[in-house]
C-alpha cells in the first residue's frame, strides 16, 4: 500500500477554488457546502432545547465562570483573590480562564444564560466545521471527511458544555492544523507565528493549553525518531534536522509566550500541581475514565472502533509523529472523559487521510459528486443569515431546571434573609450555581477544585461523607446552615443533632439551620 498522507513526505490533496466550475442559476446560492451544513446543523442543535439547557445546566461551572467574569467586569480588574467562598476568602487566585470568563460575562449581560449557550454553540460548531475543512483538504475525499467529522462530533458531544474548555476545542483544531501544514512543507515562519498567537490566546482562555504543548512535544519527539531513520538519505536527513530545529524553536517560543498571562510562570506550576494530585483527579467526575455502559459514551466507542479498523484494514504507513499522536491521545481519551474532544480533534486528520487512501471506488465517486456540489456552492450569505435569524429568533429564556437544581430552596433563602446570616455548607456540584443565584452568600466550595486544593476538598468529604470527624469542618468554618440534596446522608445526621433543624425541604433540596 502506498504511503498515505500521514507520512512525512506526503502532500495535501488540496482542491483549489480555481478547480471549481462556475455554475449559474440560484442553486449555488441556496445549496451550502458540507462544511457549512455541518456548522449550521451543530449550531442549531446546540441552540435548541434540550441541548441548550444541557450545555448550561450539566454542572454548576457555567454559572461559576459567568459569575467570576461578571465580577471582573463590575470591578474593572482581573480577579486576584477569592471573594466567593468563606472557606478561602481572600486567598490568591491563579486566574487561568479570565478571558473566556469575561467573554461569557459579556454574552451573559446581553442574553443571560442563553448568551453563554450562543458563545459555546458558535465555538463548537466552528471547531467541527474547521476540522471538516482540514479533513477535506488533507484527505481529498469529501465522503471520508464528512464521515470522520460526524463521528468526531458524536464522540465529543458528551462533553459539550458551556464552559471555557470549548475554547480549547477550537484552539486545538487550529493548533494541529498548523503543525500538519508545517509537516507538509509550509513555512516555518508561519508555524511560529501561528503557534505563538494561539499560545497567547490559549493561556488566557483555558488551562487546556497544556494539550497544545503535549502535541507540540509529540511532533518534536516524532522528528527526533525520524532523524536516525533518515540517515541514509542526505536530503531527507537535512530536512528532518531542519524540522527538529524549527520545532525546538516553536517549543521555546510558545514557552516564552505562555508566560504572557496574569500569573506568569505560576500558572504552569499551579496546573501541574493540580494534575499531580491523584486525590483530586480521581475525585472529579470529568477526570474519570469513560463508562461504556452509558449512552453518551457510545460515540467514543464508535471512534475507538474506527481507529482500530482503520489501522487493521487500511494499514496506513504513519509518520512517527502521527503514530505517537494517535497512541498518546487515545490513551488520554481512555484515561479521562474530558480529554475525548481533544483526542478526536488531534487524531481525526490521521484517520481521515488513512481512510481516504483505502477508500473503495464507490466512496471516491461519492466524494467527487460531493466536491462538485461544494465547489459550486456560494451559500455562505444564506448560512450566515439563517444562523443570525436563529440566534436572534430562538426563544431565549434558559433556566437551570428546578428538578435538578435548588431553585426553589434559593427562592426560600431570598425570602428569609434574616435566617441565613452565617456561613453555608453546600453541595459541591451546586457551588457554581449558588455563586450565580445567591451572590450575597459565600459558598463553602464550588467547581474551582484546583483553587480550593486537596486539603479543603478532603474536609468537604469528611463532612459530606459523614466521616468520624464530620462535625469538625462545620465548627472550624462556623457553618450555620447547609444546603444539600434532599436525600443526602448529612441531612439525616443533622436532623438527629439537637442544635440543628430543617427549615426547608422539597423534592430536590433540604436546608438545615443551627438553632438560635
Amino acid at each position: 500500500m502506498a504511503a498515505n498522507g500521514n507520512g512525512p513526505d506526503s502532500q495535501p490533496r488540496v482542491q483549489t477554488d480555481s478547480d471549481a466550475e462556475s455554475s449559474g442559476g440560484i442553486l449555488p446560492w441556496v445549496m451550502p457546502t458540507l462544511t457549512q451544513w455541518l456548522w449550521l446543523v451543530i449550531l442549531l442543535i446546540l441552540l435548541a432545547n434540550p441541548w441548550r439547557t444541557m450545555m448550561a445546566a450539566s454542572d454548576g461551572d457555567t454559572c461559576m465562570h459567568w459569575r467570576v467574569g461578571e465580577y471582573m467586569l463590575e470591578t474593572g480588574r482581573l480577579i486576584r483573590a477569592d471573594v466567593f467562598s468563606h472557606t478561602r476568602y481572600g486567598a490568591p487566585i491563579i486566574s487561568k480562564e479570565w478571558l473566556s470568563e469575561i467573554i461569557f460575562a459579556l454574552a451573559g449581560r446581553v442574553w443571560g444564560l442563553y448568551g453563554l449557550c450562543v458563545v459555546t454553540a458558535l465555538l463548537i460548531a466552528t471547531t467541527f466545521a474547521l476540522l471538516h475543512r482540514q479533513l477535506v483538504r488533507e484527505s481529498g475525499n469529501h465522503a471520508v471527511a464528512i464521515f470522520v467529522a460526524f463521528l468526531a462530533a458524536w464522540a465529543a458531544c458528551a462533553h459539550w458544555m458551556a464552559r471555557p474548555h470549548a475554547f480549547s476545542f477550537l484552539l486545538a483544531v487550529l493548533w494541529v492544523d498548523a503543525l500538519r501544514r508545517f509537516e507538509r512543507g509550509e513555512s516555518a515562519r508561519r508555524l511560529l507565528v501561528t503557534l505563538g498567537a494561539l499560545t497567547l490566546l490559549w493561556v488566557n482562555l483555558h488551562g487546556g493549553y497544556l494539550a497544545g504543548f503535549i502535541t507540540l512535544g509529540i511532533y518534536w519527539m516524532g522528528a527526533l525518531i525520524e532523524l536516525p531513520l533518515a540517515r541514509a538519505d542526505q536530503n531527507r536527513s537535512s530536512a528532518v534536522r531542519r524540522k527538529l530545529a524549527v520545532l525546538t524553536g516553536a517549543i521555546a517560543l510558545c514557552g516564552v509566550v505562555s508566560l504572557l498571562n496574569p500569573s506568569g510562570y505560576q500558572l504552569h506550576l499551579h496546573n501541574l500541581h493540580f494534575l499531580r494530585s491523584s486525590y483530586l483527579t480521581n475525585w472529579l467526575a470529568e477526570y474519570a475514565s469513560s463508562d461504556f455502559h452509558a449512552f453518551d459514551s457510545h460515540g467514543f466507542l464508535a471512534w475507538l472502533a474506527l481507529t482500530f479498523l482503520t489501522l487493521a484494514l487500511a494499514r496506513p504507513r504513519l509518520s512517527p509523529a502521527s503514530a505517537l499522536l494517535l497512541i498518546v491521545w487515545t490513551y488520554f481519551g481512555l484515561y479521562a472523559v474530558r480529554n475525548i474532544p481533544l483526542t478526536v480533534v488531534f487524531v481525526a486528520p490521521i484517520l481521515a487521510t488513512a481512510l481516504a487512501d483505502a477508500a473503495p471506488a464507490w466512496a471516491r465517486r461519492l466524494s467527487d459528486r460531493m466536491r462538485e456540489t461544494d465547489e459550486m456552492s456560494r451559500a455562505w450569505p444564506l448560512v450566515g443569515a439563517v444562523a443570525i435569524v436563529a440566534v436572534v429568533a430562538f426563544p431565549r429564556p434558559t433556566e437551570m431546571p428546578a428538578k435538578k437544581w435548588p431553585v426553589d430552596a434559593v427562592a426560600y433563602i431570598h425570602q428569609h434573609p434574616d435566617r441565613f446570616t452565617g456561613n453555608m455548607f453546600n453541595n459541591y456540584v451546586w457551588g457554581g450555581y449558588l455563586l450565580y443565584a445567591l451572590p450575597e452568600h459565600r459558598v463553602f466550595v464550588d467547581g474551582r477544585t484546583d483553587f480550593y486544593g486537596e486539603s479543603l476538598i478532603r474536609q468537604y468529604d469528611d463532612t459530606s461523607l459523614l466521616h468520624t470527624n464530620w462535625q469538625q469542618p462545620l465548627a472550624q468554618y462556623h457553618v450555620d446552615w447547609t444546603l444539600m440534596p434532599v436525600d443526602h446522608p448529612l441531612n439525616l445526621a443533622l436532623a438527629l443533632l439537637p442544635g440543628w433543624h430543617c427549615v426547608y425541604s422539597n423534592e430536590v433540596a433540604a436546608v438545615f439551620c443551627r438553632r438560635p
Binding site: S289, L326, T468
Partner: protein, 515 residues
C-alpha cells in the same frame, strides 16, 4: 496440541539439548511458587470476600452431599440458589477442608500457572521465538493479574486458553475437526458446571465462525471451515445443558446480563478505570497492539479483526473481560511479531536477534513434567504439613485483619448474646461473614443474580444512607450492624437514641438496637 511449528522444529534439531526445563515449565514453576509462597497468596484469597462465599457454599454441598438448591445464606432472601459454580465450589471446599486456605491458594496458583504455561506453549508452537513469547506472556500475566483471585473465574481463564488455542489451530489447519469435536464439547460440559463464564467459549466459537465466513467472502473461497464451526457451536450449546438445572442455567445468566441495572452493580462488571494500577497491564497490551498495527502493519484476517474488536469491546464494557481479551489477543500479537522478525531478515539487528534466539537450548519434555510434578509435591508437603505431620503450619494463609473484621468475628463468637436480631453488613464483607460466622446470616453478599435488584435497592437505601433506611431495617428486623469505622451509617446510629455501640476497633464498629 502436539503439532510443532517449522520454526520450533528447526530449533529442536539445531539447538543444543540441555538438561534444563523449558521456558514454559520454568514460567509455570516460578508463577506457581510465587503465588503460593509470597504475600500474593493473601491477596488471592482476600482480594474480595468471594473466595469465602464459594468455600462456604462448597462446604454446605459436601456436608449435605447435595447440590445447593435453596439459598439460606442471607436473611433477606429465601429462594432458589444459583448452581452455576457448584463444581468449583466443591473443589475449593474439599481443598479448604484438607489444607485450609493454603489448599485454596494451591488450587488457584496451579490454575493460573497452567493457564500461562499453555499460552506460552501455544506461542512457541505458532512460531514465536522464546524471548518474544515470554515477554508477551508476561504482559498477558500483568493484564490478568487484576483478577488473580481464588474464585471459579480462574477456571474460565484456563478454559478460554484451551478453546482459543484449539479454534485457532483448527483455523490454521493444524487441528482436525474430529479433534475439535472430541475435545471441546466435553470441556464445555465441564465448564458449565465450573463457572458461568462458559458463555465465553460459545462466543469464541461464534467469532471464529463469523471470521471464517468473512474471510471466505473476501477471498472468494469456499466456507469449508464454517460448517464444522457451526456444528461445534450447536453441540457446545447442547453441552451447556449438562448441569444440575439444565436450560434454566443459561437462561438465568442471559437474564442477568440483559439487566444492566443488576449486572453493573459490582465494580468488575463496570468499564475499566484507567486511573488504577490494575489496568496498567491492559494499557501495556493495548500499546503493544497499537505498535503492532502501526509498525508491523500486519495483514490481519477477518477472524483476527473480529476477535480483537469483539473482545476489545467486551473488555471496555466490563473490567472482568480484560483477562479474556489478553488471553485471546496475545497469540495474535505473537504471530505478528513472529512474522515481523521472519520477514525482516534483511535487517542486521533482526538477523542477529533470530540467530541468538535460535541458539537457545531446547529442553526435554520429560524434564518439564518431572520438575512440575516435583514442584507440586514439594508445595503440597509444605502446605499440608499440619495434615501430614501435625503441629503448626509452616506457612499460614488467612484473611488480613486490617481489611476484614476478624476481631469482631472472634468477639461475637465469644459473646453470642452481644447482639440480637438480624444483621446489616458492609457489602464487601458479606462473603467473609458467611464463612467466618456461619451462625449469623448477613443482609447482603455479592450474589445479586440471586437476590435481585429490589433487595439491592433496599440495601443501598440503608447503606448510603437515605431517608427510608429505618423502614428497611424494620422490614428485615435488623437488630445490629457491622460496618467499617468511616461508614456514614455509623454516624446516624451514633446519634439515634434507639442504638448503642457494642464493639469498636480500628477497622469496625458494631451497633445494636437498645433492647
Amino acid at each position: 496440541m502436539n503439532a510443532v511449528s517449522p520454526n520450533a522444529a528447526a530449533r529442536s534439531t539445531n539447538s543444543p539439548r540441555a538438561p534444563l526445563p523449558s521456558l514454559s515449565a520454568m514460567l509455570w514453576v516460578i508463577l506457581f511458587l510465587g503465588l503460593s509462597f509470597t504475600s500474593a497468596r493473601v491477596v488471592i484469597v482476600s482480594g474480595d470476600s468471594d473466595p469465602s462465599l464459594h468455600r462456604r457454599l462448597g462446604e454446605w454441598m459436601i456436608q449435605h452431599r447435595a447440590i445447593v438448591g435453596e439459598d439460606n445464606l442471607l436473611h433477606t432472601y429465601h429462594g432458589s440458589a444459583s448452581t452455576m459454580e457448584w463444581l468449583s465450589e466443591v473443589i475449593m471446599a474439599a481443598l479448604g477442608n484438607w489444607l485450609g486456605w493454603n489448599g485454596v491458594v494451591l488450587l488457584a496458583a496451579a490454575l493460573i500457572a497452567t493457564c500461562f504455561w499453555l499460552l506460552h506453549r501455544q506461542l512457541l508452537g505458532e512460531g514465536s521465538d522464546p524471548v518474544t513469547a515470554t515477554i508477551l506472556v508476561l504482559v498477558a500475566m500483568l493484564t490478568c493479574s487484576m483478577h488473580w483471585l481464588a474464585r471459579p473465574l480462574l477456571f474460565t481463564h484456563l478454559m478460554t486458553v484451551v478453546f482459543a488455542w484449539q479454534l485457532r489451530w483448527f483455523q490454521r489447519g493444524r487441528v482436525t475437526s474430529r479433534r475439535l469435536f472430541t475435545l471441546l464439547p466435553p470441556l464445555m460440559a465441564l465448564w458449565v458446571n465450573l463457572h458461568g463464564g462458559f458463555l465465553m467459549g460459545l462466543i469464541l466459537i461464534a467469532m471464529y465462525a463469523v471470521g471464517e465466513v468473512v474471510d471466505s467472502w473476501s477471498h472468494r473461497s469456499s466456507v469449508e471451515r464454517f460448517k464444522p464451526l457451526a456444528a461445534l457451536f450447536v453441540i457446545c450449546c447442547a453441552a451447556t445443558l449438562v448441569n444440575p438445572v439444565g436450560w434454566r442455567l443459561p437462561w438465568e445468566i442471559m437474564s442477568f446480563l440483559r439487566t444492566p441495572e443488576l449486572s453493573t452493580l459490582t465494580t468488575e462488571f463496570l468499564s475499566p478505570n484507567f486511573h488504577t494500577v490494575g489496568m496498567h497491564g491492559f494499557l501495556l497490551l493495548l500499546l503493544l497492539l497499537a505498535v503492532g498495527l502501526i509498525v508491523i502493519r500486519p495483514k490481519a484476517t477477518a477472524t483476527d479483526v473480529v476477535l480483537i474488536g469483539g473482545w476489545g469491546y467486551l473488555a471496555l464494557l466490563s473490567a472482568r473481560n480484560v483477562p479474556i481479551f489478553a488471553l485471546v489477543v496475545t497469540p495474535i500479537l505473537g504471530q505478528w511479531f513472529a512474522e515481523f522478525t521472519r520477514d525482516g531478515q534483511d535487517r542486521l539487528w533482526v538477523r542477529r536477534y533470530r540467530e541468538w534466539t535460535e541458539r537457545m537450548p531446547v529442553a526435554s519434555r520429560r524434564i518439564d513434567v518431572a520438575i512440575m510434578l516435583a514442584t507440586i509435591i514439594a508445595a503440597l508437603a509444605v502446605m499440608a504439613k499440619p495434615a501430614l505431620a501435625g503441629g503448626a503450619p509452616l506457612i499460614a494463609t488467612d484473611y488480613p485483619s486490617t481489611r476484614y473484621p476478624m476481631a469482631v468475628v472472634d468477639y461475637l463468637r465469644a459473646h453470642p448474646d452481644a447482639v440480637h436480631g438480624e444483621m446489616f453488613n458492609y457489602f464487601l464483607w458479606g462473603g467473609y461473614i458467611e464463612f467466618a460466622l456461619p451462625s449469623r446470616k448477613p443482609f447482603i453478599d455479592s450474589r445479586q443474580n440471586c437476590y435481585g435488584i429490589d433487595v439491592f435497592h433496599e440495601f443501598r437505601t440503608a447503606d448510603q444512607p437515605k431517608p427510608g433506611w429505618e423502614a428497611v431495617f424494620a422490614k428485615y428486623h435488623v437488630g445490629w450492624t457491622i460496618l467499617p469505622v468511616q461508614h456514614p451509617l455509623n454516624r446516624i446510629l451514633e446519634l439515634s437514641p434507639g442504638w448503642t455501640r457494642v464493639y469498636s476497633d480500628r477497622l469496625t464498629l458494631v451497633f445494636s438496637r437498645v433492647s
